[in-house]
């Protein structure tokens, strides 16, 4: 059992939770993830390690309430416990001193972009961050992001805060202005990462994405998270989660993410009825 030490609602349906997991905190590196199971009848879901504190033995996750499991997790409070947390899984994000680096976060993907930007900056890179939200109401961690980047650019879909549009619009502006970029990292919804990849492919800017495939085991034993990268089958959990964006077959990834649409709905509806959700 893993105790919840802190809970914070960052924005609508966006929750931060800190749990006591000393073994994981000791080994975690930016880019790695955990697999959690909320309770005995729960499914295993992957979440990125958004932050960790080795001294206090804690890890932080930031998640979006979208279906049954993330909503169920959202009902847990400080003092409650999560049945299982396995990690740290996957390979740490490769970082080095590249020169000018752009880090892009979309929605809940901003959480893992924060420690990554911090690390890139500490390595001596010039870090330009682009973060995108649905609207002003959804903005979180603006200050943290500002402190970990040399330049922070914000976009909202409806223009209620920052530039109107998608992170790719902001990125395109940046490129068109003649900004020299050595490397890009993008974390967010698959469709956003695909859009970034399509844009930067044209300009031949090395781009790394962190994929969010469906997963079961998280340790390479089931193959649920397999995707095609550069024509070869890879497992997101064991070979990733970071991949060269220009080699990822995003259409396949997005189709695979939809495999259980029907079942997810059944599960969520049943849960909402049981807990009287929204009533």
């Amino acid at each position: 059992m893993f105790k919840i030490l802190k809970k914070e609602v960052l924005a609508p349906k966006t929750i931060l939770m800190e749990t006591y997991a000393p073994l994981i905190a000791k080994k975690a590196e930016p880019g790695q993830f955990i697999v959690i199971r909320v309770n005995e009848k729960g499914e295993r879901i992957p979440l990125t390690i958004a932050d960790f504190n080795r001294e206090q033995g804690t890890i932080t996750m930031v998640f979006q309430e979208i279906g049954k499991t993330t909503n169920l997790l959202g009902t847990k409070n400080v003092g409650d416990a999560i049945s299982d947390i396995l990690g740290p899984l996957g390979n740490p994000t490769e970082t080095d001193r590249y020169g000018t680096v752009v880090t892009i976060g979309g929605g809940v993907g901003i959480a893992p972009v924060y420690p990554l930007s911090r690390k890139l900056k500490s390595l001596g890179n010039k870090v330009i961050s682009i973060i995108g939200y649905r609207s002003k109401d959804f903005v979180f961690w603006e200050e943290r992001m500002r402190s970990s980047s040399d330049e922070l650019l914000i976009a909202t879909n409806d223009g209620s805060y920052g530039a109107k549009g998608f992170v790719t619009d902001v990125l395109k502006n940046l490129i068109d202005k003649g900004t020299h970029i050595d490397r890009i990292y993008a974390i967010g919804p698959a469709i956003m990462m695909k859009a970034v990849a399509d844009l930067t492919r044209e300009y031949k800017i090395k781009t790394i994405v962190s994929l969010n495939s469906l997963m079961v085991c998280g340790m390479g034993m089931c193959g649920a998270c397999r995707i095609t990268v550069g024509g070869e089958t890879k497992f997101t959990c064991a070979d990733g989660p970071d991949f060269d964006a220009h080699l990822v077959n995003f259409d396949e990834l997005m189709k695979r993410l939809n495999t259980y649409k029907k079942e997810e709905k059944i599960s969520f509806e049943k849960w909402k009825e049981e807990v009287g959700y929204g009533a």
Partner: protein
């Protein structure tokens, strides 16, 4: 009393009934049946069965005890060599081991040793349920810590022996549940999960500690374990990596590795969705690729979930199938449709990315290959398309690379298996290994045998005798 050539049959759920449920198929012997079967044992002086058993259970003696209806004595005899008889009695390929060499086999059916083993073990499990546990004798504590990686049959049996010798043993398991393939792979209808749970409790009573959610190589390394004052380590991490055929369309939706399919159903209990949260797709026309036990388990599971047609596609003929005869028969009785001498060459999807057809090719058998089986050769021009909506790929597994990759100096063999010497010690001092990670995918009982052998070596090592 003359020789009884025929063995006493075991009652089973009829195929028409069982193909709609996840309850166990064979129902076990009752007392009368067990004694009748036990009486068929000749108690021959050569007892080849003992050598036929990878862990050398004293088979004639425990059968004699059954005949005398002294089941406590019978279980004590079995426990001397095997602490998991309720499991091995169900899943061992006895027909290739103890029963293959039984003298009775020369005149009729061999004695049904597996069924008798199960009978004794089930009697003891019933007793345990009532709280009557008889633990095997334990030596006084040695105050030395040993770490076991992986809670499959290899790790479990190694842990039990070391605990009996007085060592302080902790098993580290990556999954949230222990048991390895016994828990995530072999289906409920062949090995009820309450039995695996019950055995875990028994091991805890023996003093074995379990730590789940720890993936060695990620959460902790072998080096960390030594820093934590473990003095020896046993690696029993199995061969759990699924193989794919790498043919076009293999990543379409509704195409699973057998590991994923069985893990969802067995470990995550997807067959009880939505009571349990993990979903599984229920195909109407399911293709299972492969001809081993895993393929049979996947096919029979798909049927129980509600498939209308389950095609078992295998590239050689029935004779070459590596699955146990009993499993093949059970699958046939339940209506699994065998498509032999056939191989898929690509999958075709619909507009949403779900598989809708498998293109297959007919095969013929050529010369014998290295495995001694005739090599399958595609017949040109015999391609055909099969309408299906789900595929389960069961063409084998390979060793898990996480531990070798994260342990400096650990030597591996050709297929990623861990190299060991005759004492099962690896190239790293104090680190031992056994089971599927050393042999490649094998059997429960060979993994258990390796675990026991490693325990003996670890004992010697810690006494400075190795």
């Amino acid at each position: 009393m003359g020789l009884k050539k025929k063995s006493v049959p075991m009652r089973e759920q009829p195929p028409e009934v069982r193909k709609h449920n996840f309850l166990e198929v064979p129902l076990g012997y009752n007392k009368e049946e067990a004694i009748l079967e036990a009486q068929r044992c000749l108690q021959c002086p050569t007892h080849p069965c003992i050598d036929g058993c990878p862990v050398h259970i004293n088979i004639p003696r425990f059968i004699k005890a059954i005949k005398e209806d002294d089941l406590q004595k019978a279980i004590d005899i079995i426990h001397e060599s095997n602490l998991l008889p309720a499991i091995t009695g169900r899943v061992c390929p006895q027909e290739d081991q103890c029963q293959a060499v039984c003298v009775m086999g020369n005149v009729g059916d061999p004695v049904s040793i597996g069924r008798l083993e199960r009978y004794v073990a089930d009697w003891e499990l019933e007793k345990r349920k009532k709280g009557e546990v008889s633990l095997p004798p334990k030596m006084p504590p040695k105050n030395k810590k040993v770490a076991i990686i992986g809670s499959g049959p290899a790790g479990l049996s190694c842990a039990a022996d070391l605990a009996k010798m007085g060592y302080d043993v902790t098993i580290f398991e990556g999954f949230h549940k222990t048991g390895g393939v016994l828990t995530y792979g072999i289906p409920e209808f062949r090995l009820p999960k309450w039995i695996v749970e019950e055995e875990k409790k028994f091991f805890e009573q023996l003093g074995v500690k379990f730590q789940t959610d720890v993936l060695i190589g990620r959460t902790l390394t072998i080096k960390d374990l030594f820093n934590e004052k473990f003095e020896a380590v046993f690696i029993g991490v199995g061969a759990g990596l699924p193989r794919f055929m790498h043919i076009p369309g293999e990543n379409l939706d509704n195409i699973y590795s057998a590991n994923e399919f069985l893990t969802r159903v067995n470990l995550m209990k997807a067959y009880k969705f939505p009571e349990y949260d993990t979903p599984i797709k229920v195909g109407k026309r399911v293709a299972v690729i492969g001809g081993g036990n895993v393929a049979m388990d996947a096919a029979r599971t798909a049927l129980r979930l509600g498939a209308e047609h389950v095609y078992l596609i295998y590239r050689r003929s029935r004779k070459e199938m590596p699955a146990r005869e009993e499993e093949i028969e059970h699958a046939e009785q339940e209506g699994i449709e065998f498509m032999l001498l056939t191989n898929p060459i690509r999958y075709i999807g619909d507009e949403n990315g779900f598989v809708k057809q498998a293109e297959c090719i007919k095969m013929k058998l050529g010369e014998e290959d290295a495995s001694g089986r005739r090599r399958p050769i595609p017949i040109e021009g015999s391609e055909f398309k099969l309408d299906i909506d789900q595929v389960i790929v069961a063409i084998g597994t390979t060793p898990n690379p996480i531990v070798p990759k994260t342990t400096e100096g650990l030597k591996t063999g050709r297929h990623g298996t861990i190299w060991v010497d005759e004492n099962l010690q690896t190239s790293v001092k104090g680190v031992f290994a056994g089971g599927d990670i050393v042999t490649g995918a094998a059997t429960v009982i060979t993994a258990m045998g390796a675990g026991r052998k490693a325990a003996a070596s670890i004992d010697k090592y810690l006494k400075g005798e190795l």
